[in-house]
């Protein structure tokens, strides 16, 4: 058994305290059992043994907390009631304070006579003789053990003192063992708990989930009332802020996103120093209401705050708080720090995972977008590998492929003719293959295509495959043909009146011929007529171009009566209506329409002229206007040659001229196309009904004027028969 020589009065080794062997064995047995019985029970037995062995009336043993205050108090010789009546003396005072501060045994016959005595605390029964000493070991004072009122003697003896010293040493060993055991147990528990927490954290991928688990773990691990994890942030002014996620144990509900300026939080100090802080009572440090919003809101007294390790500076702080003041549980700071380490790693991993997921999602979006672009391309696009076999192809390429394409040689899949040799194979030239290449489709049809080859290279520039594009040239050829047709048509239509003008003019200018006055007038009239024709053609071309550019925005729509429009159209068409009689029925009670009169009269004029052009001489032409729902319908009817179904299907296309008439009758094929554009720009529709050989009816609609819309023009009804 160790003797703490700094505490116990020197005892010669040859001397042995007078004690019965059995009593000593009992004590040794108790000490041996110290690990199996609770410390409190053991200390109680020690104090009882002390009173019994030393024949005292009263014995007491006090165990201190870490701050020198009595945490546990064991007595023997007084009743619980007597004990409860005893009040406390200030810590460190009197004989008891003396033996602890001086770390020495004290024995005196009368307590009041000792210089260190300050008397008895209120409620304490008077006592005379005293024997007491510190319970100490290894420089640490764990408590004190003392007896009073020696029975059968005026005071305690030296042997009593030695026995007390022995008992005090045993108590110190017991307390030390118990504390060590408790510490080990606590550390074991903490380590196991942290291990489990670590496992759970490793399974989480969401930063929010990590934060919540860490906060809850801190709360549970340390038995705190409040726990929180604060992450470092900067506000727009670059001020350091802490964004807290808090959990109050009683509410069991997380509060997230609480933003506190770092300087108002202990976390700010932790960020600066990089060290943890433990505070027994924040309000004992001169704290004022409002200094720390978290303290105020959560009613915190004791706190422990540790940094969350970061790259250069702490990335945050982990905090636990208690509503009762006092030192946090032993080992709290260390446990919190260990939890913070795990939290920092888990957060970093979760953030990395979140970034990876975001990158993956972005990559997936890009892949889907590229996939959609790839598949929506009108060109056939496919890739080949080093072996010249198809790896991937888009939807268009699939329709042109002969059989399943993936993994097969390109030329088995796509049957090309006239392909230049240097554009085949993996070492193929890149760029556009020259010449007229034909692709034979699975249906047997051959189409002209353009082939474009590009290499696919790896990061080192090595060719690892090709991208090949097959472009259908048919639309391009159709456009070119259409353009050529249009140019031919337009140039002829322009050239013909010019030829006439030139012919007549040059005839008039010949010096070797004299033309009579009537012939001269005829020539000049023809020149004028052809000039008008030229002008109309140019006007048509310009009109259709303007309608393309501006549509409805070019119209100057006003409220106008249908009868007025019909009258104007008939007047405009009159010079070209030939010998045809044109009748119109447009009652005056028809609702006004919203129209640009100059454009609509052109439509009517066109339709009347067409009717005249394609009707036998003298055949009647009629115009009938009716109203229904929100539209007014204009119908121009003739009794001419009518239209075939083929002609009806193309009639309103630009530059379309029926094969039946285009060689006989001059025209550009723009008239009806212009009519359609004008009617559509007004929000109406135009259509034709026709029976071949019997005649046609062209109908178009214009919207009625809603009340209050447009300018009012004078209404007029007409009924020209």
């Amino acid at each position: 058994m160790d003797q703490d020589r700094s505490v116990i009065p020197a005892v010669s080794r040859g001397e042995r305290a007078h004690q019965t062997v059995s009593q000593h064995l009992i004590m040794l047995e108790d000490i041996a059992l110290a690990g199996e019985i609770p410390l409190g029970d053991l200390l109680q037995r020690i104090v009882e043994a002390a009173r019994h062995l030393l024949n005292a009336r009263y014995a007491a043993l006090g165990v201190f907390d870490g701050r020198g205050r009595v945490r546990d108090f064991y007595t023997d010789g007084i009743t619980p009631e007597e004990r409860d009546r005893i009040e406390s003396l200030p810590i460190g005072t009197g004989l008891l304070g003396y033996i602890v501060s001086e770390r020495r045994l004290v024995r005196c016959p009368r307590i009041p006579d000792h210089p260190a005595s300050v008397g008895f605390p209120p409620g304490h029964p008077p006592m005379t003789s005293f024997l007491g000493g510190p319970i100490a070991r290894g420089g640490v004072v764990y408590g004190n053990l003392y007896l009073t009122d020696r029975i059968g003697a005026a005071e305690f003896s030296a042997e009593d003192e030695e026995m007390l010293a022995l008992l005090a040493r045993q108590s110190a060993i017991a307390i030390e063992n118990a504390q060590r055991f408790a510490r080990t147990r606590r550390e074991e528990h903490t380590t196991r708990a942290l291990f489990e927490i670590g496992k759970n954290l490793a399974s989480l991928s969401e930063p929010e989930a990590v934060v919540e688990l860490v906060v809850r773990s801190a709360l549970d691990l340390l038995g705190a009332d409040v726990a929180g994890l604060g992450l470092r942030e900067s506000d727009p002014n670059q001020s350091l802020m802490v964004r807290w996620t808090l959990l109050r144990g009683s509410l069991n509900r997380f509060r997230q996103g609480r933003l506190v300026p770092a300087h108002q939080s202990l976390a700010g100090r932790v960020f600066q120093t990089g060290d943890g802080i433990v505070v027994d009572d924040v309000r004992a440090l001169g704290y004022r209401e409002g200094d720390n919003p978290l303290v105020d809101e959560e009613d915190i007294r004791a706190m422990a705050v540790v940094p969350l390790p970061g790259d250069d500076v702490p990335g945050g702080a982990l905090m636990v708080g208690w509503r009762r003041p006092g030192p946090p549980p032993e080992g709290a700071r260390d446990a919190l720090a260990r939890l913070a380490d795990r939290a920092a790693i888990a957060l970093a991993q979760a953030e990395l995972h979140a970034r990876e997921q975001a990158a993956l999602r972005q990559s997936e979006i890009e892949r889907s977008s590229l996939e959609a672009i790839f598949d929506s391309m009108r060109d056939a696009v496919f890739t080949t590998g080093l072996d010249g076999r198809v790896i991937r192809l888009n939807r268009q390429a699939t329709t042109w492929a002969h059989g399943d394409a993936i993994g097969r040689p390109v030329h088995d899949v796509f049957h090309l003719e006239n392909e230049p040799g240097e554009f085949t194979g993996l070492s193929a030239e890149s760029g556009v293959a020259p010449g007229e290449i034909e692709l034979c489709l699975p249906s047997g049809e051959k189409i002209p295509i353009e082939k474009i080859v590009s290499p696919i290279r790896d990061a080192s520039g090595r060719t690892i495959g090709t991208v090949q594009v097959l472009r259908d040239l048919r639309p391009q050829r159709e456009v070119e043909q259409l353009k050529a047709n249009i140019l031919s048509l337009v140039s002829h239509e322009l050239r013909t009146p010019l030829s006439h003008i030139k012919g007549y003019a040059s005839s008039l200018l010949q010096p070797d011929v004299e033309w009579d006055a009537e012939t001269q007038r005829d020539f000049i009239a023809s020149i004028e007529r052809q000039a008008d024709r030229l002008g109309r053609l140019i006007s048509d071309l310009l009109e259709i171009s303007r309608l393309d550019a501006g549509g409805a925005s070019r119209l100057e729509q006003v409220s106008v009566s249908p009868a007025t429009l019909v009258e104007r159209g008939m007047r405009l068409a009159a010079p070209n209506a030939g010998g045809h009689s044109v009748t119109a029925v447009a009652p005056p009670d028809l609702p006004a329409v919203l129209a640009d009169p100059s454009h609509v009269e052109r439509v009517l004029s066109n339709l009347i002229e067409n009717a005249a052009k394609y009707s036998p001489e003298g055949a009647p032409i009629s115009i009938v206007v009716t109203a229904r729902d929100t539209f007014v319908t204009f119908a121009v009817q003739d009794h001419g040659q009518g239209l075939t179904s083929e002609e009806r299907s193309h009639l309103f296309e630009r530059f379309y001229r029926s094969p039946r008439v285009k060689h006989r009758t001059p025209g550009t094929g723009l008239g009806l196309a212009i009519c359609r554009e004008i009617v559509h720009a007004h929000g109406g529709e135009i259509r034709v009904e026709s029976v071949e050989g019997k005649g046609s009816v062209f109908r178009f609609t214009l919207p009625r004027v809603a009340k209050g819309e447009g300018q009012r023009e004078e209404d007029a009804g007409i009924d020209r028969r």
């Binding site: 050239r495 013909t496 006439h500 010949q510």
Partner: protein, 131 residues
């Protein structure tokens, strides 16, 4: 104005009635005997000019692209056209010549000055007279 000899009979065949008529009128003003017919009519197997013998055949085409090559071919094969000097006025004489199957004595490009046509016609007729 001096009238040309009776042999100076000219047939104007055209695809544009008005222009063909103008050429014919110009030639008549200069004393030629001129008949004018549309190509579609002149190529018909049962048609022949009213002149017994023809001094010159003028083929004037305003829009050769819309002209039937068959009509041209038939026109050139008409019995009354055999051996008759041919004056061709068209934009693309090469294509028309192919359809005619006969090389014209003179080819003028369209749009042609009427005076040029008259001059060319006179030249061909003089040549024929000289023979």
């Amino acid at each position: 104005m001096e009238r040309e000899p009776v042999e100076m009979k000219v047939l104007v065949v055209s695809d544009d009635t008005e222009l063909g008529g103008l050429i014919a009128l110009n030639l008549r003003q200069r004393g030629f005997l001129v008949e004018h017919a549309d190509l579609a009519i002149a190529q018909a197997s049962r048609w022949a000019p009213s002149f017994k013998s023809l001094g010159l055949l003028i083929v004037d085409l305003e829009n050769h692209e819309r002209v039937s090559s068959t009509h041209l071919h038939r026109l050139a094969r008409q019995p009354w056209a055999a051996g008759v000097p041919l004056l061709l006025a068209t934009e693309n004489s090469a294509a028309v010549v192919t359809s005619l199957g006969r090389v014209p004595d003179i080819a003028l490009s369209r749009p042609a000055n009427v005076a040029d046509i008259v001059a060319a016609a006179r030249s061909l007729l003089d040549r024929a007279l000289a023979r």
